[in-house]
């Protein structure tokens, strides 16, 4: 697998008035990596992510996603990435099939491809019986798994996941991560934020943001060695406590 950089960020900063939400961050993400973007609420994770997916303009610094500049080509970025967040993933008052058709259309897929992918997705997640039910009636875990697959409909090079497993039961959470592993294995880069510290262990590399700055960036194993702790939760506690 090529070690190409799918995301390149240098001195990226975002300010709101005199409040600096993202403070001069620099990092890269390689193709096919599972990159964990961690930090407490309010640390700046979501703001940083919004800049990378092209919906927020940075105050200063550089950032390239799938070779497109976030300042000049945000629309190209949006066409080439997948995105899923905890707050919203699918339309509750549309059926599963309608959701797939809608998002497929938005991504510019042809009718025949949409049909093909729709069948494949429904079969893989075993949703045959509920394919014509409104998404709002599904349990949370199913919704999240479906949303993940829908975000991949157009085979993007990288998928951004914003707290995708919040509130989901432990078994479904692991099934979700198995889906993430499979996706990464197939060459898609996965950029994921989470506040479940044990999930940080599934990532190839992890960055931890504190007050807008990146205070740690490495593989989980090396971070644990560095701070002399047994798990990522304790890494975080040591970092946050100062």
């Amino acid at each position: 697998m090529k070690e190409k950089n799918v995301i390149q960020v240098k001195n990226l900063t975002k300010k709101f008035g005199d409040f600096t939400a993202v403070d001069n961050i620099t990092f890269e993400v390689k193709q096919g990596e599972i990159f964990g973007f961690l930090g407490a609420n309010g640390a700046g994770k979501t703001t940083a992510m919004k800049m990378l997916i092209g919906i927020s303009k940075p105050t200063s610094g550089e950032a390239n996603v799938v070779d497109f500049d976030v300042y000049t080509n945000p629309e190209d970025i949006k066409k080439n990435i997948g995105y899923m967040s905890q707050k919203f993933a699918l339309y509750d008052d549309l059926t599963i099939k309608e959701n797939i058709t809608f998002f497929g259309g938005i991504y510019g897929l042809s009718k025949s491809i949409i049909k093909q992918k729709s069948e494949a997705l429904i079969n893989e997640l075993n949703l045959q019986e509920v394919a014509n039910e409104l998404v709002g009636s599904l349990p949370l875990g199913w919704k999240q798994k479906m949303a993940f697959s829908v975000a991949l409909l157009h085979n993007p090079k990288i998928i951004f996941l914003d707290e995708p497993t919040g509130g989901v039961d432990p078994i479904t959470r692991r099934q979700f991560w198995e889906m993430i592993y499979k996706t990464a294995h197939n060459g898609t880069t996965v950029f994921v934020t989470t506040h479940y510290m044990d999930e940080a262990e599934y990532c190839d590399r992890v960055s931890i943001m504190v007050n807008g700055k990146i205070e740690a960036l490495d593989t989980p194993k090396k971070l644990k060695e560095l701070f002399n702790v047994k798990n990522m939760n304790d890494v975080f506690l040591k970092l946050a406590r100062g």
């Binding site: 949370l140 039961d169 432990p170 078994i171 991560w177 946050a240």
Partner: protein, 300 residues
């Protein structure tokens, strides 16, 4: 007996939120209701705090019936509903004063109860609640729920969405509160917090999976769990899933928790199989069972 729940069931339209729930919470206990979203935790809390009426069953809180004596319960419990329900446009001090006043008391009267918690947010007492960080909002909400010295404290997912540091501090505060004789019923989706409770009830899809102390629950896990790791996690998981004797395969951070269906399982067999699949750096060793393992086994 501080809280007594007998055969409570509750449905909404076509969804059954709670199915025949029964358990007790003793006076002065720190009791955890552990389960993911949709398990029924909030519904149960709302029934116990008299906000909803169950379809079937009865419950008492501090010896008051939740239906017949709801007014008494409302006068004597502290309630912290999910997602920080405070007045965002009132300051810290104004919020606290409001809750003290409607319960017929003052901040000074029960200050010793909330002192440990309040000192952490006191520097911000003139800041509007909406401008506080998640951790501070949580501390304020707890103070407001305690200010009238309730006999029973209901905390519905108080640590959800809050950073790990604040979560840890919050549970330390709860332990100190418990020493003052308050019965505390907490719900949380975080399995690691379960270990901090006196007793816990595991709940999923409206049903109680098990109730006991954290130690006992873990002791009753039927099998030995093995930590398995290899250089390629993905290949490892696939191989383990394909292994014909597996009972459960769950990723757990840097390891995979593996259990075998056979009672006379020999890890060497697994090692040979995995090597045969081309995996490198394989490590298989027994590990301590956690609440999460137990939960998933019961929920299967």
């Amino acid at each position: 007996m501080s809280i007594s729940i007998k055969h409570i069931s509750k449905s909404f339209k076509d969804v059954t939120a709670l199915k025949d729930i029964s358990f007790n919470v003793n006076e002065g206990e720190l009791f955890g209701l552990i389960g993911p979203d949709g398990a029924g935790k909030t519904t149960l809390f709302r029934i116990l705090t008299t906000l909803l009426i169950a379809d079937e069953g009865t419950a008492t809180v501090a010896n008051y019936d939740v239906v017949k004596n709801y007014k008494d319960i409302r006068n004597h419990v502290g309630y912290m509903p999910g997602r920080f329900s405070l007045y965002q446009d009132l300051t810290v001090e104004e919020n606290l004063t409001f809750f003290a006043t409607i319960f017929g008391t003052t901040i000074e009267e029960n200050y010793d109860l909330i002192k440990d918690i309040y000192v952490q947010i006191e520097p911000f007492k003139n800041r509007r609640a909406g401008d506080l960080s998640g951790g501070m909002k949580q501390k304020l909400a707890l103070s407001c729920a305690l200010i009238h010295k309730p006999k029973v404290l209901f905390l519905d997912e108080p640590t959800t969405g809050v950073d790990p540091v604040s979560r840890k501090e919050f549970w330390e505060m709860l332990k100190r509160l418990q020493q003052k004789g308050i019965t505390i019923l907490v719900s949380t989706p975080y399995m690691d917090e379960a270990a901090l409770c006196d007793r816990i009830a595991l709940i999923q899809d409206g049903e109680i999976l098990q109730i006991d102390t954290p130690e006992e629950i873990v002791k009753h896990y039927p099998k030995i769990i093995y930590d398995v790791t290899a250089s390629n996690m993905y290949e490892l998981i696939i191989s383990l899933n394909k292994y014909q004797h597996n009972h459960s395969v769950y990723p757990f951070g840097e390891f995979v928790h593996y259990t075998d269906e056979r009672d006379d399982f020999n890890p060497e067999d697994l090692l040979k199989y995995l090597e045969g699949k081309g995996l490198k750096n394989i490590v298989i060793q027994p590990t301590k069972t956690t609440i999460e393992d137990t939960f998933m086994e019961l929920a299967k």
